[in-house]
Symmetry: C2
Subunit: 392 residues, 2 copies
Amino acid sequence: MFKFNLEKTEGKARAWIFETEHGNIETPIFMPVGTKATVKWIIKEELDEMGAEIILNNTYHLYLRPWDELIKNFWWLHTFQNYHKPILTDSWGFQVFSLGNIKRPISESSPNINQNLVKITEDGVHFRSIIDGSKHFFSPEKVMDIQSNLGADIIMAFDECAPWDSSEEYAKKAMIRTHNWLERCHKEWEINEKKRQKEWQHKQALFWIIQGWIYDNLRQESAQFVSSLDLPWIAIGGLSVWESKEDMYRSIEVVEKFLPENKPRYLMGVGTPEDLIEWIARGIDMFDCVLPTRIGRHGSAFWTYGNIKIKNEIHKLSDKALDEVCDCKVCKNYSRWYLRHLMMENEILWLRLLSYHNLYFLINLTKKARKAIKEWNFEVMRSDFWKKYKIN
Amino acid sequence: MFKFNLEKTEGKARAWIFETEHGNIETPIFMPVGTKATVKWIIKEELDEMGAEIILNNTYHLYLRPWDELIKNFWWLHTFQNYHKPILTDSWGFQVFSLGNIKRPISESSPNINQNLVKITEDGVHFRSIIDGSKHFFSPEKVMDIQSNLGADIIMAFDECAPWDSSEEYAKKAMIRTHNWLERCHKEWEINEKKRQKEWQHKQALFWIIQGWIYDNLRQESAQFVSSLDLPWIAIGGLSVWESKEDMYRSIEVVEKFLPENKPRYLMGVGTPEDLIEWIARGIDMFDCVLPTRIGRHGSAFWTYGNIKIKNEIHKLSDKALDEVCDCKVCKNYSRWYLRHLMMENEILWLRLLSYHNLYFLINLTKKARKAIKEWNFEVMRSDFWKKYKIN
């Protein structure tokens, strides 16, 4: 249904073009996150300017408000937020982690920990709304139906991310459940696709998610299972949460040999500039992360030489650009001391400007990687990146 | 020093072109307010898009932080905020009113009311910083020097706005003081201009302010005094604060016959769409107001038919534009229900989008008025405006 053209590889690094109804996606690509149908403080013209080719929205939040049925009635997410390039909707799995204070039951035998908020069964997940405490139930089928209503180009299967302190036993249970749910998602997706293509002439592609927390054997089992299915895309989920960098890298490296060469790979929730470079080198094609807007909120900016905290006294009199070698409109137009002034005065334009730069930085990094791969120059770019970049 | 060309009049309404070093200002014109060297949430490219030709910055705030001497050292306000069209700096007078909880001493005989914050003498004003309580003193000379450091194209004389409950006696005292200060401002400005033009090849024009609170005889006396001086611009200050609409209109109408025909007129702190239309009809050329961003913050938007509160339930399912006949990028791209969704979810993009529309609305109104005046069509436009517009 989507066309995938593998244009070039260098080592394990790959450059694809995915053709969708809403335009092409050229990989490697970083996808800005717009949880509630808005990439924070940024409008579509700016997403175009910075070279974004696809954005993410969140099923869970948009189901609760304004409600997927409404969005469907008003011609889906693209019209709702006036973004007419490809959109991907995240399924609900990851939100269990990211929703603030919510702790999940560690295992089904100890469901008392906040059982009111989330309860997982084989059939699906019972939960209460973070908005008004109302009761809801998500099954794999329901999550497929909601995503069908939202109308993104790419949707995600319903998965369970095992919590950070999961035993191998619980992580295995969660993985097997995720596999069962994948199959149920697939069935429901097929039903929806028939209806969708008949009624609305609009296609949706389904992404499959590898789970298994930080247990190598589980990750491998999950990779083998997902890869054995006849499905076009594969995502690696449940990482970049609370695990160590070492665990994260190992958990992805162990599955790599099981992934089919001819399918696009999406590493969910990643990441920093260094993560992007290193995972592109290891054959990942797509990334998403809330970091650009989140660190912007705290006055941090990505920088060719590591990271800048704009509040530092050192920038008070600096008329340099945020990143001297960046050609985004923020770096071309504003000095560090002006940006610092905005932040000190709580003039929230700084949120907008720092987020813009941070998004541009990651998107631009993936674009430069793509160009380098196509010119058989990626390893040079990678080593050049590391000569300058300091993790702090 | 600036060239003023009166292009066309229709009745009392006028269309000028003012030539400045940073470009032309075509009147009637609405000037967006960027108190702390930023028009809230908006960047320069957007000010250009919406047709802004001049913006305002505030002397008081920028003196306190980051400090006018610093701004001077980094090539003045234009470079600091990267806005290279004309800039006007407001003097300190109006801030006495707008700074939140600060009540001023009603008269010099009862200085006990918050005397710590503000104390007015013939020589100038003693005050404490709203940031850290530190003591400062502004004389007319000091205010001229600060504005010279800031480097705007147009600066304002230092005036005293009489408080809302001023007796005629006190209002007269404040007016006379303002007149004395005007003369001191003028002397200091002349000294600064000689230095400025020699050292920096950059000119600044000085605006004179009519005061007199809501007392007709004082307003007339002030107008006669200011008009008798050989100065290029005249501002009407101290209104649009707490007085009734009736008092405000009368206080301006009574001075009109004393204003020279051949000088640009600036009505400070005004206003709403209806004020703009009516004051253009009465011969005012320039306006400024914080309303567009302030009402945007509360979810209100200017509308051809009056005013829209986007939070109203009625807009929940509306796929209409904010203003159906507005051609700003917000109205062309987003529905009311999407804007309402952003506001309900506290996604602060709504601040940006509503402020953009509101600024566009007022600027566009003055531009349409200008076009109408040039085509001898302003009275038709004015009556057309009132056929649709409801004050609510």
